[in-house]
Structure formats: C-alpha cells, structure tokens
C-alpha cells in the first residue's frame, strides 16, 4: 500500500476542500458570528495547505529512509485486507450465525492466512471462541448473539 506523496498529498487537498465546502454549507446559529461551520473550514484549509506541501515533497528530509523490501507479486499486498474482510464478516454474520460459529470461522481463516498449519488452526478455532464467549458473556455480560449454535452455559 505504498502511495507516492503526490497522490496522498492530493487526496488530502481533495478531502480538505470537501471539508471546507461541506462546513461552509452548515446552517449558522442565528445571532452568532461563529458557529458549527468555523471549525471544519479551518481544518479543511489546513489540510489543503498540508496536502500541497506534501505533494511538493517538503519535509521529506525528516523521514527515516525506507528499508528495502523483498519483491512480492502484486496480490501479496491484498492480503492486508483479510482482517478487514473478516471484521466485515463478523458484522454481517454474527447475528444470523451466532457468535461461536462466526468466531470460529474468523480465527480459522485468519490463522490460515498467516500461514498456520491445520494442526494449529483447527484446535485454535475450536478452543478460542468458547473461551472468549465464556469471558465476555458470563464474566462481562456482553449480549453476544446466539444464532444457530447456542453456548451450553
């Protein structure tokens, strides 16, 4: 996910402009000079300034030089999205499937993605969710969803 400073600076400029524009459209409080619009507009203009400076490469000399990385195929970086996908899965599946099944899938998939052997991933996926359920449901009283498979306690 290495992005050149020109791109990230540009993104900041766009974001800053959107913030300032969005802020300026907020309704003012009658009888007050400064209202909800002031702060987003201030931040927005700050972001635009920073974005321009970053895109121009000012301040680079403060950054630590990057370490050389081993070459990887292009899809290698996409592996970083696995945790996000699993969290998304939790959000969508924990209600219908229940906590135990969802958690087991997440642990199993994450372990495999990190290169665990089946002899580690399977026991982990079987043991960790019930323990976590016990701790959060029983001790901390978090209402974890039951779904298809209810815990025996």
């Amino acid at each position: 996910m290495q992005i050149s400073d020109r791109v990230s600076g540009g993104v900041l400029v766009v974001l800053g402009s959107l913030a300032a524009w969005g802020g300026s459209r907020l309704p003012a409080v009658p009888g007050q000079d400064v209202g909800p619009a002031a702060f987003p507009m201030l931040i927005g203009s700050g972001l635009i300034g920073c974005g321009v400076l970053i895109a121009l490469g000012i301040g680079r000399s403060f950054e630590a030089p990057e370490e050389p990385k081993a070459p990887h195929p292009w899809w290698y970086g996409l592996r970083a999205l696995v945790p996000f996908a699993l969290l998304l899965f939790y959000m969508l599946a924990s209600e219908p499937l229940g906590f135990l099944l969802t958690a087991a899938v997440i642990v199993f998939a994450a372990a495999l993605a990190l290169g665990a052997r089946l002899s580690l991933a399977v026991p982990l996926a079987l043991v960790a969710p019930p323990l976590m359920h016990l701790a959060f449901y029983k001790l901390l009283r978090v209402p974890l969803p039951e779904g298809l498979l209810a815990a025996p306690w």
Binding site: Q2, P40, I43, F62, E63, L88, A103
Partner: protein
Amino acid sequence: MTELLEGARLVAAPDVLIAILASAIYGLVVGSLPGLSATMATALLVPVTFWLSPIAAIATIITASAMAIFSGDIPGCLLRIPGTPASAAYTNEAYALTRKGQAELALGAGLWFSAIGGIVGTLSLVLMAPLLAEVALSFSTYEYFWLAFLGLMCATLVARSSPIKAIASMLLGLLIACIGMENPAGTPRFTFGVPDLLGGIEVIPALVGVFAVSEVMRAMVTAEPPKLPRRKFGSILANQWTLTKKYQWPMWRGNVIGIIIGVLPGAGADMAAWVSYATSKKFSKEPEKFGTGHPEGLVEASASNNASLASGWVPSLLFGIPGDTITAIAIGVLYMKGLNPGPTLFTENARSMYALYIIFILANIIMIPLGIMMIRMASLVLRAPRAGIMPLILLLCAVGSFATGNNLFAVLLVGLFGILGFVMERNGYPVAALVLGIVMGSMVEQNFITSLIKSDGDVMPFIERPVSSVLAALTFGALLWPLGVWIWNRTQGRRLPASGAAE
C-alpha cells in the same frame, strides 16, 4: 491523612488487587510480543473495565501500561525487535549487550531502572498535581484551548517523521472528531444521513482499529520474526546496584527528562526514551562506547520512559488533556467511571487520587518480581507462533469494539480505522497524531468557539491573559521548531540523521 488511609483501603479491596495482578501479567505478556504495543494492550482492556469498579478500572490501565512499557524491552534485548515503540530508542544497545553475553545485565537494567523511573515519576505526580490544580482553577476557555492545541502540536513533534505529515494526520483526526452533533451548536455534521454517525466517532473503536487491527494487517504482509533460542538466565538483578551507583547522575537525568516530557501534553514514553538516550550520549564521558553494548544509555532511557508514563497523568487528570496515547484511553475510562478530569478532582475526590498514587507505586514494586518471572519465561512466551496470536487479537478487536456499545457498527469502524492506520503508517503519516486529534477534537473546538463567542470574534484575549500568552508562545514554538531545524540544517550545510526531528 485520613484520605490517604481511605485511599489505601480502596486499593486493598480484593477486586482491585486481583485486577492489578491479572492486568500485570496481561501487560507483561502483551508488551513482550513484538508488534503488540502498550497502547494496544491498554485499548483492548477498555471493554473489560466497563464491568469493574472505578478504582479497579483505573488500576488495570495503570498496571497494564507500566508492565507493557517495561516488557517491551525483552524482545528488543533478545531479538533486536522492540516490543513497544517506547523501547525502540535503545534496542540496538540492549541487543549489543546480549551479543556480548550480558543479556542478564541488559534485561536487569531495563527492569530495575523502569521500576525506579516509575516510582520517581509517581512521586512527581503526587507533588506536582495538587500544586498545578491550584493554578488550573483559574484557567478559562482561552487557556484550555491553548493547552489542547499545545498538546496536539507536541504530538506532531514526537512523531519521528515529516512534521508536515504529522500535522496533516492531526488535522485528519480533528476532522474525524467533527463528525456527529457533539459540537457547540449541536448541528449534525458530516453524518451523510447515517444515524450511527450522529453520536460521533467513538474513540475506542478508532484506537483499537488504528493500533490493533492495523498490526494484524501488517502481520499479513511481513515475515514472521525469528524464534528465540532457548536459553538459561543467570541472576537478573546481580549487578544493578553497582550500575545504580555508577550511573546515578544519568539515572536522575533520565527521570527528570522523562517527567518533563510526560507532563507536556501530547508527548509520551516514546519521545522520552529517544530524547534521554540522545542526552545520555551527548553528556557521557565515553560517548564512543554507545551502540556497542554500553549500559549507560540503557539506564537513562529505561528510567525515562517509565517516569514519563506516570507524569503523563498530570495533564490528563488536571485538564483532561492526554499526555500520550495511553492516557488518552485512560481519560475515556475516567469519564466513564464518573471521575471527570479537572482540578476539582483533587479537592473533591482526594481519596481516589491517593488510591491512584498507591496503585502506581504498587505496580512498580510488583514489576520487579513479576518482571523477573517474565524474563525467565520469555523464551516460552516469545515462541508462541504469530499465526496463533494474531487471529485471537482480531477476534478480541471485534468482540471488544462490539462490547463498548453493543453495536455492530463499531465493528465496521474498527475495520475501517484498521485500514486507515495501516495505509497511513506505510506512508509515513504518524498514527499517534491522528488518534490524539480524534480524542481532543471536540475539546479544542468547544474551547475555541466558546472563546471566540466570549470575545466577540476578537483574537486579542487569546494572547492577552498572562498564562495563555505563555501557552501561546510554547505552541508557536512547537509549530515553528521543525522550520528552525530545517534552516539550521541548511545553514550548517549538512543533514542531520532522522532523529534530529525528535530532539
């Protein structure tokens, strides 16, 4: 005096003692695992603190963070991988000692001087906080605005990165804090019609995402750290007393620097360690030995980062302005438990404050025996496969963020902040500045807008009042500092190493 006894009684409650012991072990283990930082250990504890009594909740935060900062030294010393960013300053030094066969000396110095630093830092907290509370009672929104702004500027200085990127990160955090209707006018802003955004972005999902999920993401694309060979350790504390006497002066200097940096809002243990290591080298009689396995810098920096941890609570307790990312979490817990930060905390709730001091001292004392046990078991703990730990961390992130509000939207937020943190870190945008921006956004805005309304849009009152003029000068000093360094480098005609930005 009765209040001190009351405080001791509060700490002696069984649930508090159990909480201290359990969070000590938790902090030691998590801090020692490379990639799992002290901030992350503390952030993942927050859902647990919901169900604890106020004192027990504070105790878990204090103990876990102190332990994690020490135990970050362990993998740094044995594997040359700092367990927490606060250990990064002296990792090479400690590893050099290990290569010379003096691992016990390096680990012992980390442990012994961490405990001393923690205790000295606590004493400074005990002495300073009530004195400053008197001053703070006369503060108005102008002073609070400058304090919060100064904290944000310090957060950008700490980052060992481009100051412009740090400021951009901070502004991004402030922008995220604008979301919702928690602003002086109560107008919904940037909610895009999503009802879940009306209440604003919760700090805990943001923290967990930025510090924990992004770490799991990083683990996906980096090679696993090398395994620690099994080894036996000799006596850990054997030579520490000799070191204490020999390097007494650097030790005190480390403590003092740590305390000063901790008190500064926004700057924390990482910066304390870097600055102390650099000063130690500068004032040492034998600077040429630094980097080759010389304990002097280790002594000073180890004391410094733990001292800053305690004094970092001064701005947090007095003004609700976090000293670093750990106290940013602590402030959230304080509010949740009805111990709202502010100068009146020291007058109206003195026994809770005494309890807090006692917990600090206690945590730093039990650090020594527990730390020795941890060092002896380090080869066992550090052998735990990353592919087994990271999935559990991910699951904890999901459950923990869900638990903060029984709301599945928080799980999505955690994931999104994970991506944001990962991408920012990869491109040199410091995430600590982002987090402090999110935490302090509404406070900065509230005080800024209120002050402007009070003064009828006039900026003069911001700099006319005596305390606020000093704070304003400090803030602009922090803002212009990188420019000064840059010009100095130009005129000197040579480039300083990257650490120049942090000094």
